[in-house]
């Protein structure tokens, strides 16, 4: 399996290079056959890297400890889910996962744009090919996950770090990587537009959904990471400004600014330069984040370890990215003037410009503070770390300013808002903000000025959004009820109103952040039978329970939470000691959730003989508002990502073809895999791997055939085929027209 995987990676490197070379030459020489072959090479690349991924998963599932990476990150005792997630659990595998995901995204992007962006697409393929080549180079020459032991093959695996054996760690990295990798596609199209000189808004239409989907995945990854930190690490919080956390937040900040900028460009033809700069910066920061976590340049519990050589390779690549991207950007600078000037500073686009400045400022501060220890060391001084107080000093005011602008964006109109209208629109949200702040002070939450401001602004934004939606409903209500009008508004004019809901979700998340200002904790040692009062709760220690499975020993404290003297819930904080890592006991957090506050309990030292347990009791007010806010954001974003009715009508019906059959079969096989895994059949996993592997092998063969076919084909293209291509091109043009109208 190691040889097969390594061979796939080698073939992938050649295919990626070929895809770039054929596309560039095809575009340069206007050669349709080369272009077609280049596109097919991208499909083949995705298929071959899919095969490499299957080989990796198979090695983990079958416990092939001749592969160093497998031996290092899994053992026979791990469950199937953790064996599979070990694929991206380490440095080498995560890079293969990255490359495979990028190849898959590239194949989808190329397929969906093959008739729409004929001038740009070849250059976009070339850019993607260079990025894939970079990661494949790292895999083949530096960090090959298929490297085998040469001298002595260990009989057992070392096992995945216990902290990573958690459902959130199965989902968090793929979501985060999905976001990081997905942001390569907008970059590739933007750079392709700069290279080809096709600077009209067409490239934006090609990447709008990619940008939004990637941003969503990045947000999902960050939130899953926060939940993991909150529920697994056991220190009571969810964000510690750790360098690796910041590595994920950096591109998120610029990606958010990028989305706003793209919207203004599409709507008003403004901020064209901003959009390009933000796309480039966002991509750069995804690579920079990867560099931070994988080179060891920053010190973090989440980092993969120090590797100076890797750091240098990343530095060279990042320098090239900046040099080439901004080189083309400055070369086209004169052609990137806004099509019209800003009408007024009292307008939504002006507020968006200010938002962009703040997002970029936040990214710069975050980058500087994260790199500060490295910078101080580089100038020959002692490594000086920057802690959460520094981050909070800067990021809290920026966050509050962003909240202010979020509220203003809902109040301001496009182009120009007349001052009397602006004042009229401010009345209700302003009053709501003041009332919210007053209620908070009355409830004893006035101690933290920042939190109070945040909560007041949240009231302002929520009211502003409701006011805007109500205004939309009123304008739509022509002989229909308010609910029907609301439904029509949300489903027909989806994008702007989904945007409002995203803002609303974000505001709820800020409510959760504000709650952290009121966090309190207490450490207690309880004997069995003792009860301790903590805020409005009472915590009674009922005793210990001890269990053991094949991986670990578990000591659980049985606690009863009392509210007004009556039981309100049972909590079981625990300590798990893994047999293979006895020195790293894992803390199992117990949480009693509530919209007002979470009661969060962890167990430290304990004495089974004396019946005592050291407990850390933490009250986390409003924390669940964050998760609710994210759910709202997620629902709204997915709503925007779904095609509108007009778009759905413009999508060509699926014709019967071999590719259609293979796609259907692929879907069926994926469904089978999940079925087998869920059913825990002993032969489920091997059968599923065999099925998926066989199918991807078939797809690879088909794709490779399609790479060569255009080059070897001698006969004239039949008339029917030419006409079919014209029809497809027509449908694509109609779809663009529909999107533009939308």
């Amino acid at each position: 399996m190691a040889d097969f995987g390594a061979l796939c990676v080698l073939i992938a490197l050649v295919l990626a290079t070929y895809a770039g070379a054929a596309s560039l030459l095809g575009a340069r020489r206007d050669n349709a056959r080369l272009l077609e072959s280049g596109r097919a090479a991208v499909y083949a690349l995705a298929a071959v890297l899919g095969l490499a991924s299957v080989a990796m998963v198979q090695a983990f599932v079958s416990g092939d400890y001749s592969i160093k990476y497998v031996q290092h990150y899994s053992d026979a005792q791990a469950s199937l889910a953790y064996k599979i997630s070990a694929y991206w659990g380490g440095l080498d595998g995560s890079m293969l996962f990255w490359a495979a995901l990028l190849a898959l995204f590239a194949a989808i992007a190329v397929y969906t744009n093959r008739h729409r962006q004929r001038e740009i697409l070849p250059y976009a393929i070339a850019v993607i090919a260079v990025v894939v080549d970079f990661f494949l180079y790292l895999i083949i020459f530096e960090k090959n996950p298929f490297d085998t032991f040469l001298v002595e093959i260990p009989a057992a695996g070392q096992g995945l770090n216990p902290l990573l054996q958690n459902p959130y760690m199965v989902t968090h990295p793929p979501a985060l990587y999905g976001g990081f990798v997905g942001l390569t596609i907008p970059y590739a199209f933007a750079l392709a537009a700069l290279i080809s000189g096709q600077l009209d808004g067409a490239w934006l239409a090609a990447i709008r959904r990619w940008a939004l989907a990637s941003w969503f995945l990045l947000t999902l990854g960050l939130v899953l990471g926060m939940i993991w930190a909150y529920e697994v690490l056991g220190w009571g919080g969810f964000w510690a400004w750790d360098p690796v956390e910041n590595a994920g937040l950096l591109p998120w900040l610029t990606a958010t600014a990028m989305l706003h900028s793209m919207k203004v460009q599409e709507r008003r033809g403004l901020l064209r330069r901003w959009t390009f700069v933000l796309v480039i910066l966002t991509f750069f920061l995804t690579i920079f984040g990867t560099f931070m976590t994988r080179s060891g340049i920053v010190q973090s519990v989440h980092a993969f370890g120090k590797d100076t050589r890797l750091a240098w390779i990343f530095t060279i690549f990042m320098s090239l990215v900046l040099l080439v991207s901004f080189g083309f950007f400055f070369a086209r600078l004169s052609a990137l003037r806004a099509s019209r000037p800003l009408d007024s500073w009292l307008s939504r686009e002006a507020a968006t410009v200010a938002t962009n400045w703040l997002f970029v400022l936040a990214a710069l501060v975050l980058m500087f503070a994260t790199m500060f220890p490295t910078l101080t060391e580089a100038v020959g001084r002692e490594r000086i770390s920057v802690g959460p107080p520094f981050f909070n000093t800067w990021m809290v005011p920026i966050g509050i300013a962003l909240l202010v602008l979020t509220g203003l964006c809902s109040v301001l109109t496009w182009r120009r808002t007349a001052p009397p209208e602006f004042r009229r629109r401010l009345i209700a949200p302003g009053a709501a903000g003041i009332v919210t702040a007053g209620v908070c002070v009355a409830a004893g939450l006035g101690a933290s000025k920042g939190a109070l401001l945040c909560l007041g602004l949240s009231g302002f934004i929520v009211t502003a959004v409701i006011q805007e939606i109500a205004r939309g409903v009123r304008s739509r209500r022509t002989g229909q009820g308010p609910l029907a009008a609301l439904g029509a508004l949300v489903f027909r004019v989806r994008r702007p109103y989904a945007g409002y809901l995203v803002h609303l979700g974000m505001t709820l998340m800020f409510v959760g952040f504000a709650g952290q200002a009121f966090q309190r904790e207490e450490s207690v040692v309880l004997k069995v039978g003792q009860t301790r009062a903590f805020g409005k709760f009472g915590v009674r220690f009922d005793g210990f329970s001890q269990t053991e499975d094949r991986q670990k020993q578990m000591v659980t404290a049985e606690l009863t939470v009392l509210l007004d003297g009556k039981p309100a819930g049972q909590l079981q904080p625990a300590r798990w000691v893994y047999h293979k890592r006895p020195d790293e006991p894992a803390t199992q957090v117990a949480i009693l959730r509530g919209l007002v506050e979470d009661l969060y309990i962890t167990m430290g030292k304990h004495d089974l003989n004396e019946g005592t347990a050291a407990l850390k009791l933490v009250s986390n007010p409003l924390v669940d508002w964050m998760w609710l806010g994210f759910l709202l954001m997620a629902a709204a974003t997915i709503g925007v990502l779904l095609p509108t009715g007009r778009e759905a009508r413009a999508i060509p019906s699926v014709r019967f073809s071999w590719s259609g059959v293979t796609i259907t079969l692929f879907g069926a096989t994926v469904a089978l895999v999940f079925g087998a895994v869920v059913a825990h059949l002993p032969w489920g996993a091997p059968l599923a791997i065999l099925g998926v592997g066989g199918l991807i092998l078939g797809l690879s063969a088909l794709a490779l055939y399609r790479v060569l076919d255009p080059l070897l084909r001698q006969e004239e293209i039949p008339s029917a085929e030419r006409r079919a291509l014209i029809e497809e091109e027509l449908r694509a043009r109609l779809q663009i027209a529909a999107e533009t109208a939308e």
């Binding site: 390594a6 080698l10 490297d147 002595e152 027209a737």
Partner: protein, 423 residues
């Protein structure tokens, strides 16, 4: 010591040391030798060292004796402190800076005694003992050495003083004797090399190196250098050279020979053959090389001569070779081939293919001199397609029954097809 204590090496190391003893064996450490070694303890506060002085034996405490400590602070400043021994014969030095080099001396009944120098540890303190009128007395202190190598500290430990007899710093009197050995073992992506270099002083004076120690260069690429138990005091500088911080007594001395015992890893980077090239400033006389028995492993070196194989404690057969002597300032060169290697064929083929693609792009970058699809034809096609889009939108708006539009649509498709065909 962790990397040298894993299973295959452990047995080999035991064998290595056993073989070393079978030659001019180092004597067991005598009481004096043991006494001057610091015992690191956790029950003393950080920066505290006690020196217990005995007269004849430790049970006979030397009370009221001045113990003079020389303390070289990490910033290089040296100072002296004097403490008197108490009723239990113990003098206590406290508040010493962590990382400083400490050495104490005293005189009991005219006999001068001196401890080994060592680094003040970051945790706990240290206990030392000095006993007069034992064995060869003060002369023996000259060979006293810390119990473990102080590599990695990077400090400038003062070399153990020789108080008796004349000394020389002429390097020509020092050589590596034919008792010197190398053990080479296979690891993942590296060779584990352990060296036991026995230094001989051919003069009748004690040799003391001029620049703070005897420099032993390491082979290029060596990493993970560590001293091995039983070695004389070694320090690693800049990762490339080991310094032996010890005086070397004349060869005829009854004392144990000075031995530099250390190990390092030599990366193989997945290659099947690796050459160890180690400069030998003092030359080395007929060194012995040991390699665990393997079907594939092959050694190549000047004057290589196979000796009778031996079996170690685990029953592993060890191949033993003798090499030709290396002259002063020569290079000890041993090529180990037959190592399990990673195939580079795939990487080479891929590199060649990528280079070919790169050149193809460069060669094909120039646009063809005659454009296959003239600009006029292309703009004509664009016009036709734009009209087709408009007709199709009109057709969809009017319903598909409009025959005029349907006919115009068919004409346009045919015209575009013709344009494509001409292109």
């Amino acid at each position: 010591m962790r990397k040298w204590s894993c299973l295959p090496t452990l047995a080999a190391l035991a064998f290595f040391q056993q073989v070393a003893v079978a030659q001019p064996a180092p004597e067991a450490a005598d009481v004096q030798d043991m006494a001057v070694r610091p015992l690191m303890v956790g029950d003393l506060p950080v920066g505290t060292v006690t020196v217990r002085v005995g007269r004849g034996s430790l049970t006979n405490a030397a009370v009221g004796v001045d113990v003079v400590a020389t303390v070289a602070a990490p910033d290089g400043k040296a100072s002296k402190r004097t403490e008197k021994t108490k009723s239990d014969g113990r003098a206590t030095f406290s508040g010493l800076p962590v990382g400083a080099i400490f050495q104490a001396q005293t005189a009991v009944d005219g006999e001068r005694l001196q401890t080994a120098s060592f680094t003040i540890p970051a945790e706990g303190g240290a206990r030392l003992m000095l006993v007069s009128d034992v064995g060869e007395g003060a002369e023996n202190t000259e060979l006293a050495r810390p119990h473990a190598a102080a590599h990695g500290h990077g400090g400038t430990a003062p070399e153990t003083a020789d108080n008796v007899g004349e000394s020389t710093s002429d390097p020509s009197v020092v050589r590596l004797s034919n008792s010197s050995k190398l053990l080479i073992d296979m690891r993942e992506d590296s060779l584990a090399v352990m060296e036991n270099l026995v230094l001989e002083n051919t003069s009748d004076r004690i040799f003391r190196a001029e620049h703070g120690g005897v420099a032993i260069p390491l082979p290029a690429g060596a990493n993970g250098v560590e001293a091995i138990e039983g070695s004389s005091h070694l320090e690693l500088e800049q990762g490339t050279t080991i310094f032996l911080r010890e005086a070397i007594p004349p060869s005829g001395s009854p004392r144990a020979p000075v031995q530099a015992r250390f190990g390092f890893l030599l990366p193989t980077a997945g290659e099947s053959s690796v050459t160890l090239r180690q400069p030998v400033p003092f030359g080395i006389e007929d060194p012995v090389v040991m390699v665990p028995e393997s079907d594939h492993l092959k050694l190549t070196a000047p004057g290589l001569q196979a000796l009778a194989p031996q079996t170690d404690d685990r029953g592993v057969q060890i191949q033993i070779f003798q090499l030709a002597s290396v002259p002063r300032n020569g290079v000890l060169s041993i090529t180990v081939s037959g190592l399990p290697a990673r195939s580079r064929v795939g990487q080479t083929i891929v590199t060649v293919l990528i280079a070919a693609l790169f050149f193809a792009v460069l060669l094909g970058w120039r646009r063809p001199s005659v454009e296959k699809r003239p600009e006029k034809l292309r703009s004509r096609r664009d016009e036709l397609l734009a009209e087709l889009v408009e007709v199709e939108r009109a057709r969809q708006a009017a319903g598909s029954d409009d025959t005029t539009l349907a006919q115009r649509r068919a004409e346009l498709v045919a015209a575009i097809e013709a344009a494509d065909r001409s292109a």
